[in-house]
Amino acid sequence: MIRAHCLICAGAGCISSGAHALKEALTAELKQRGLDNEIRIVETGCMGPCDLGPVMLVHPEGTFYQKVTALDVPKLVEEHFIKGRPYQPLLPKEAPTGAVVNTQRDFTFFAKQQKIVLENCGLIDPENIHEYIARDGYAALGKVLTSMKPEEVIAEIKASGLRGRGGAGFPTGVKWELTAKNPVKPHYVICNADEGDPGAFMNRAVLEGDPHKIIEGMAIGGYAMGANNGYIYIRAEYPLAVKRLQIAIQQAYELGLLGKNLFETGFDFDLELRIGAGAFVCGEETALMRSIEGRRGQPQPRPPFPAQRGLWGKPTNINNVETWATVPIIIRNGASWYGQFGTARTKGTKVFALAGKIRNTGLAEVPFGTTLRELIFDIGGGIPNGKKFKAVQTGGPSGGVIPAQYLDTPIEYETLQALGSIMGSGGMVVVDEDTCMVDFARFFLEFCCDESCGKCPPCRVGTRQLLNILERICSGEAELEDLDRLEELALMVKDASLCGLGQTAPNPVLTTLKYFRDEYLAHIVEKRCPARVCRDLLQFTIIEEKCVGCSVCARVCPVETIFKVGGQKKYYIVQDKCIHCGACLEACKFQAINKTSEGEGFIPPPRPAVLELPPGRKPTAVVTS
């Protein structure tokens, strides 16, 4: 008799923080105490709050444990399963208030979410098709095959208002109809599981946590669009997702849910995995199709769109993982049920990956129309270490940044676009006051420049020239006219590039220019980095009163430019040779080193009359004064 289920998150985050060791320890402990017949352990997909990992959920109570290590297991088993009370030290705390959270339901991180796509993630064993079926899995496929015409399926998807989750938000039903109506045969369906945005893992969570949902969605789509073949294009960097998909596909074939004559209706549907080599641009749909064809993954101009001329020249429909995974849920519950979530323009929910300077990093699924503030402060728990929120970048590396004054914006494709950013695949990188916005733009532009496929000059050369200008600004070498050139070129790259990569790559630059122009001016005119990040614009000085003369700074300085003040137990940094590496700042235990960015007005502390070599340093450097 099973009296409790122990759900251990086996998402990538928790696996890397030790979920497997936890499972082993727990299995052994339960066995040793003779509880293994009463308590079942299940490995699930990602539960969301990744930085709390390894996490574990115990049902039926719904107790949620965080940061559970193998060492905690004996105590935990003792308390929870023997004594029957939650093991207090491993319960999470509510971010702002510090209140202890007893169950998952009470944890704001979960309470404010609306799990639709992720309904099974963290709840079922993704390697067991029966657990999926037990949660109404494949019922939707059975329903469309036995009781709906293909046109009716498309009508239902159209009525639901579902929009593509791969970034552009194109209405899915409309797209399906274009492929369905194309007289050229055969048709193909593709699942885009390339997810190349650094830091994004919403697709990964579904792939690893609920792979059958994608398979079911694609089979439904295949039926609706008259396609008997589907491909899942997945990146090689997701070995666990690949493994779970392979298992899921095999199980589906074994139960006759893939292959010939599904549900005895005469409909055949075959599904194949294709492993991508990992270039970011291969997530762009035309590049992805070329890659499946075995050619170099480079984007092609559209039109012709995939629905007109796609894989091997045939009509093809390509959707994102999240889009496909939503399909069975819509069919199961109906378009009008789905329509209750979201806004008038955008129905349903979206999964976001919270990252950066935010307390609860991880995955969160919320209805469209949720405000940035709710997502970042309520679910995400706000900014840690008492720092101030500065901006949030939405939509991945080529998303724009949105400053604090727009925090109450409801999240929708159109609203983000109006602010100069994008929905993208759902990345959210939160930035606090310690971040330099010029450096931030430079960082993401570098990513796009590196990932540009090189096909078109605006992106291939344009991003490099933009990056060069930003680097000059960060190092204080830029002039005011560089700012105009930066803006003009950024607009040009956006306008003239062939594919979405080049067309969005300048977003971080353009939005930081729009909302944080003063920071650019500070770098260019005053040669100052207000957030004290850009290394070339920093100054390191020793605060005389705080210095105890321990000499550690002088010893770590790689260029030996810290000297002892003659006759005193104090140290002094000679500025000319300082390379602003910050090693002294990190080494000093007495907060005696001051990092500033004062620009050209910087006046170093008066130089002592006599400087001595610190103890142990050989007299190589000639000290002149």
Binding site: A279, V281, R296, Q300, P301, P303, P304, C449, D450, E451, S452, C453, G454, K455, C456, P457, P458, C459, R460, V461, G462, T463, R464, Q465, N468, R485, E488, L489, M492, D495, A496, S497, L498, Q503
Partner: protein, 606 residues
């Protein structure tokens, strides 16, 4: 969508007609509206990468590349606006800033360069971005051409041409973004490539000075050259040549885009062996005196030949001609045949049956471009008829045509073949396999060559035809015979005897006077000495007259050497494998005292 359906759209306010399926660029061009391009090239798949051809479509915020975007009926298109001009201009600036486009030291400078041309059109008078100029290597290991990556704009015209026209896919792009580089066989150079056929089509396609013909470099700007169209003298396919000359020198040879079969493409022989090989030209008559060849006047040379001929009986005098001669030279020889015992044209082994009164072929281009199967029997297209080999590769690689190669030597085509057999057996299992490969074939083409004329070859041919007769559906194969000599067909038709085995032909009767009419043949001189005894035979002659354009081991043995015109200097016609009569036109003036072959023959036997 009907391909012949007419559609109407508006371009720059002008109502334009086009056909459904055409791109915006095609409709605009047909309606005399210019759109700048760089990566686009006729008959190659559109790339849409360079972004020069971007246009605005009413109702869409994004610009689209005209070269790759299908024209839509009723759409309103703008090809020129301040926005487009600015985007194109900045794109050019970026290209100029990317690599080393220092025009004054580029062989393409002043007018031949597509990039420079666009820069002029868009008023690029300064580059506002710092030059990036990564130090990139240069590949000059190829025999005829080199690649300077520093001038490459990554338009991939070469890559697509290599893949889609010559059909070999030697070239590709490697790496991402700013590290993009054109590569040869992934890691090779032109000199070490195993797939490159040296057809030079990539060079012809390159809009900049990145790919350049070594022989053309700094010889003159193409747009200042005179262009003469003539016929390739190297094989019986007879591709059209567009020859560029300046100051009476050949500067470049490209395919003639209007030539029906080649449509601008050539093989290595036509493109380079015609002009880019170093050869020692003979420019005046020479007479052997005291064992050494000395320059003499035409009169002296002719008088000497006459003296010897007067002393030599007709039955001991023979003339042997190269298969490269024109029909007119062949007729001139035929007219003086009564003054000699025998006149012959030197063919390849088994070539005779292939060239004696062949049926004229019609519709070859259509057959080659639509074939869904190629059967090669005893023929070496990669070596002998480069253009035909490119059709075979295109068919196999683009249309998945079947390919069966029987009784041919090894070649690059083997790797595309369903069946490739050096010596066919007559076993039943083998023929069942052939029948299986050909089962669903509808439009087969059978290319056969000299080796199909042997007894074994004929037996194989019969078996093949039997396979086709037993097929349930599909056309009978189009039979295309491919001789080896450029004008073997025309010369045999002119009445010259087909000589396949020169040794026994000469040995049949004693010979004291031998006149070899080589014309501009650059291979026969070597071939003569392939069998040792022929050298000895030369010793027994009273007079050996060698009429040739180039020095060779044969001219070194001659008593009299008569300077002949090359293909580039002569007027006349040749008859190609289809039976079409094709013109040779003088491209440059006659060098030195050289004379046309027909005129020399007439003078010798006047």
């Amino acid at each position: 969508m009907n391909a012949t359906q007419t559609i109407t759209l508006t371009i720059n306010g002008k109502v334009c007609e086009g056909r459904a399926g055409q791109t915006i660029l095609e409709v605009a061009t047909a309606n005399d509206i210019y759109i700048p391009t760089l990566c686009w090239m006729k008959d190659r798949s559109p790339w849409g990468g360079c972004r020069m051809c971007i246009v605005e479509v009413a109702g869409s915020p994004k610009v689209v590349p005209a070269c790759a975007t299908p024209a839509v009926a009723g759409s309103q298109i703008t090809t020129n606006s301040p926005r487009l001009h600015n985007l194109r201009r900045m794109t050019l600036e970026l290209l100029f800033s990317e690599r080393n486009h220092i025009c004054p030291i580029c062989p393409m400078n002043k007018g031949d360069c597509g990039l420079q041309h666009q820069a002029y059109l868009h008023g690029v008078d300064s580059i506002r971005f710092p030059y990036l100029y990564p130090a990139l290597p240069m590949d000059v290991s190829g025999r005829y051409f080199g690649l300077d990556h520093n001038r490459c704009i990554l338009c991939t015209r070469c890559v697509r041409t290599c893949d889609e026209i010559e059909g070999v896919h030697t070239l590709d792009i490697a790496n991402r973004g700013e590290r993009n580089l054109i590569v040869v066989d992934m890691h090779a150079t032109f000199g070490t490539s195993e797939t490159c056929t040296s057809c030079g089509a990539c060079v012809a396609a390159c809009p900049t000075g990145a790919l350049f013909d070594k022989a053309q470099t700094y010889r003159g700007k193409l747009h200042t050259c005179t262009v003469v169209k003539t016929t390739c003298p190297e094989c019986p396919v007879g591709c059209g040549l567009a020859v560029y000359t300046r100051e009476n020198r050949i500067v470049e040879v490209f395919g003639d885009p209007e030539s029906p079969l080649c449509a601008g493409h050539l093989c290595r022989k036509g493109r380079y062996e015609t002009w880019a090989e170093p050869r020692r030209r003979i420019t005046q008559p020479m007479l052997r005196h005291n064992g050494e060849l000395k320059p003499v006047s035409w009169d002296e040379a002719l008088a000497h030949i006459r003296r010897v001929r007067d002393a030599t009986p007709v039955w001991e005098s023979v003339l042997l001609a190269s298969p490269r001669l024109t029909n007119e030279a062949g007729q001139a020889i035929h007219r003086v045949a009564d003054k000699l015992d025998r006149v012959g044209v030197w063919l390849a082994p088994n070539e005779g049956a292939l060239v004696e009164a062949p049926e004229p072929l019609a519709d070859v281009r259509r057959q080659l471009t639509e074939a869904d199967a190629f059967i090669l029997l005893g023929v070496q297209p990669s070596r002998d008829h480069g253009l035909i080999a490119s059709y075979v590769r295109r068919g196999v690689r683009q249309r998945q045509a079947r390919l069966i190669i029987l009784n041919c030597r090894r070649s690059d085509l083997d790797r595309y073949a369903d069946i490739a057999v050096r010596e066919v057996s007559l076993e039943r299992a083998f023929w069942a396999q052939v029948a299986e490969v050909l089962r669903d074939v509808q439009r087969p083409v059978l290319l056969y060559g000299t080796e199909a004329m042997t007894p074994i070859g004929v037996a194989v041919l019969e078996r093949l035809l039997a396979v086709f007769e037993q097929k349930a559906s599909g056309e009978a194969p189009a039979l295309i015979g491919l001789p080896i000599g450029t004008n073997s067909i025309g010369l045999v038709a002119a009445g010259l005897e087909a000589v396949e085995d020169v040794g026994s032909w000469l040995d049949a009767k004693p010979v004291r006077y031998l006149h070899l009419v080589l014309g501009d043949d650059h291979t026969l001189g070597e071939r003569w000495f392939e069998e040792k005894y022929r050298a000895l035979m030369l010793e027994t002659l009273d007079l050996l007259v060698v009429q040739a354009s180039y020095e060779s081991p044969l001219t070194a043995h001659a008593h009299v050497v008569l300077p002949a015109c090359t293909w580039a200097e002569k007027t006349g016609t040749v008859t190609n494998f289809e039976g079409r009569t094709l013109p040779l036109k003088p491209v440059i003036p006659v060098r030195g005292q050289a004379r046309d072959d027909a005129a020399i023959v007439e003078a010798v036997y006047a």
